[in-house]
Subunit: 360 residues, 2 copies
């Protein structure tokens, strides 16, 4: 029986024929894992319609042999990309796709040096990414678990929010509990932001201590069996003043509107607009300084992007975050984020945690 | 008084004149932090002899204003690199350096599209990296603390090594204690590898449980105030058999020889050879499958590389790891790693933890 990885390589071969290339370079950890199961940190996969070759270095060859089946493994010390080029030449490839958003100027040169002039390297983003964006049942099952796990961890640390606790302590506890519950780690540096720091959408945990009457933004995700989750909840440490309540209500309505707009066949721009319109109706549009969401899977940011005017159409198997927020410099921020899967006939909110404003 | 960041930008201006460019693009988080103090995850800095401009997106502009002084901050939604190109044009720059190992093919195109044809983008790696490789006293003081901190954490978890404990549990505990002791996090995914898994130099922690008579490799590092440490110790869970003792002795002698060869003016290749020769004398040369070490600082892998035939000469202020190892597939691995700073008149081993074989 073919492994899931062999199935994916077959699906890629179909995409390669469609794109009129006889080879494709996969040069990111997520892409080579998706195609081969290799979890090493350095390498490149050259896929053709008939076979896949992983080029990696001595630190990872034993691991690669253990993790993969049905592919060739080549150990290379110096220029990995030149070796990939040489493989393209020895395989007689004439047109090989590479992702110009991934491959550096130096790597591009090495590829050509290795392959010689008869092989054309064609800029083409996203063949593997497009496959990855349509999760199958097994992937969705893992993502469901990853979303639930992080929700449980987030809820479990709420009682830690006491006067004097530091952002870093809460972040450390969150990441510890993630691992204790089976995650291989956080999907990104956990955001724990108190008071005015919560106005920074990507705040890093500091030694700031929690004080009464501060907003708390918790934006956290886990990696569970390679798949990411991502969620945000906002807490008010005290009894929330009227302005915070109104803003929270606006963000919650915006998030709800965006979630309800998620449907196979709808463009990502329409989902983004659904959130944006609600915030505009509250005159908060200018305080929503980022996109509504992003795809989620082996990477915490992947296709599709859920941003203004994005024409990409949602497909069954897509998993996206929906995370509108408002931010007032010097005061604080409010964001609510859930993970949502697109099915052919429905949407599924993977995050199970309640979304109401928590007042402590 | 100029900040350390302003001093660094001045030092860079000198390097730029020497390299005959009137602008330089810094496009990695470590490089833009080094030059400006900005800790955001997306951006690019265009430095000229007179000023520096940070281009970033809406998620990070408030944070950038808070973290930096004396630079311009430009908020950009879509093509960040095209905007950098436009800035180069509006500043009248004619020759701007960029790192071909960092800048992607697509970014290179955007730079040119923005700058127009009158600006030449010159491939030149490593101007900022070269400055970064020569740490000043304040940086060395932080790296000393980072090295000591991780050593204390590593020693503190040794009692956890009991039959049945999982690699992941030990890794989680290590990273939790790092944070509890003030680290902002691990410098890389902590390696906790039991038994045959220790033969994988970059093993990821799994749910494997510890059994009697297994090797344990612990390779861990912290980030403390932005600076990384990196160390490895090997434990034998039981009474080590003769082969393990001999191999351990060989690795320890190789490490010691390499450390003693560290000196301003020596090439990195000579340091690598010092370790390699000892292992060859034990007929273990072919089991040492990676380089002897790497530079360490804001990033866990930076200049200089301590590898075979490297001609780069060690300079005062360099901090490198020394980490020879031997690996036998199916059986296990042994590695010992310390961080070493190069001074004008001496070497300083930053890692304070004993290096003897620990038998439990």
């Amino acid at each position: 029986m073919p492994t899931q990885f062999q199935n994916r390589r077959r699906a890629l071969a179909v995409e390669m024929r469609r794109a009129e290339v006889d080879g494709l370079l996969a040069a990111t950890p997520a892409n080579w894992f998706y195609l081969t199961g290799f979890t090493g940190e350095a390498g490149a996969v050259l896929a053709t319609s008939r076979k896949a070759t992983l080029v990696t270095d001595g630190r990872f060859t034993a691991q690669a042999r253990e993790e993969t089946t049905g592919i060739s493994i080549v150990q290379q010390k110096e220029s990995l990309f030149q070796r990939v080029g040489e493989l393209a030449r020895s395989s007689g490839l004439r047109r090989v796709g590479f992702d110009p958003d991934i491959v550096t100027v130096a790597q591009r040169k090495s590829l050509q040096r290795g392959s010689g002039p008869k092989c054309r390297w064609i800029s083409m983003g996203g063949l593997v990414e497009a496959l990855r964006s349509r999760k199958d049942g097994a992937e969705l099952a893992l993502m469901r678990k990853a979303a639930i796990l992080v929700g449980e961890v987030l809820e479990s640390v709420i009682p830690m929010l006491k006067p004097g606790v530091r952002e870093m302590e809460v972040a450390a506890e969150i990441e510890y509990r993630m691992r204790k519950h089976g995650a291989s780690g956080p999907a990104f540096e956990s955001i724990v932001a108190f008071g005015a720091r919560s106005a920074l959408p990507h705040a890093r945990p500091t030694s700031k201590r929690l004080k009464k009457n501060e907003l708390v933004v918790l934006d956290v995700g886990v990696i569970l069996c390679h798949y990411c989750s991502d969620m945000t909840r906002t807490v008010y440490f005290g009894r929330a003043p009227e302005r915070v309540r109104t803003w929270y209500k606006a963000v919650q309505e915006a998030q709800s509107a965006a979630i309800h707009s998620v449907k196979a066949g709808v463009t990502c721009g329409e989902v983004d607009a659904a959130a944006r319109q609600v915030l505009a109706s509250y005159k908060l549009g200018n305080l929503f300084v980022h996109s509504t969401g992003h795809g989620l899977g082996l990477e915490v940011h992947e296709n599709p992007r859920v941003a203004r005017d994005q024409k990409q159409v949602l497909e069954p198997g897509n998993v996206i975050t929906i995370e509108p927020g408002v931010y007032l410099g010097g005061f604080g921020g409010i964001r609510i984020e859930d993970d949502v899967a697109v099915h052919s006939d429905r949407r599924e909110v993977l995050t199970r945690t309640p979304r109401n404003l928590i007042e402590l």
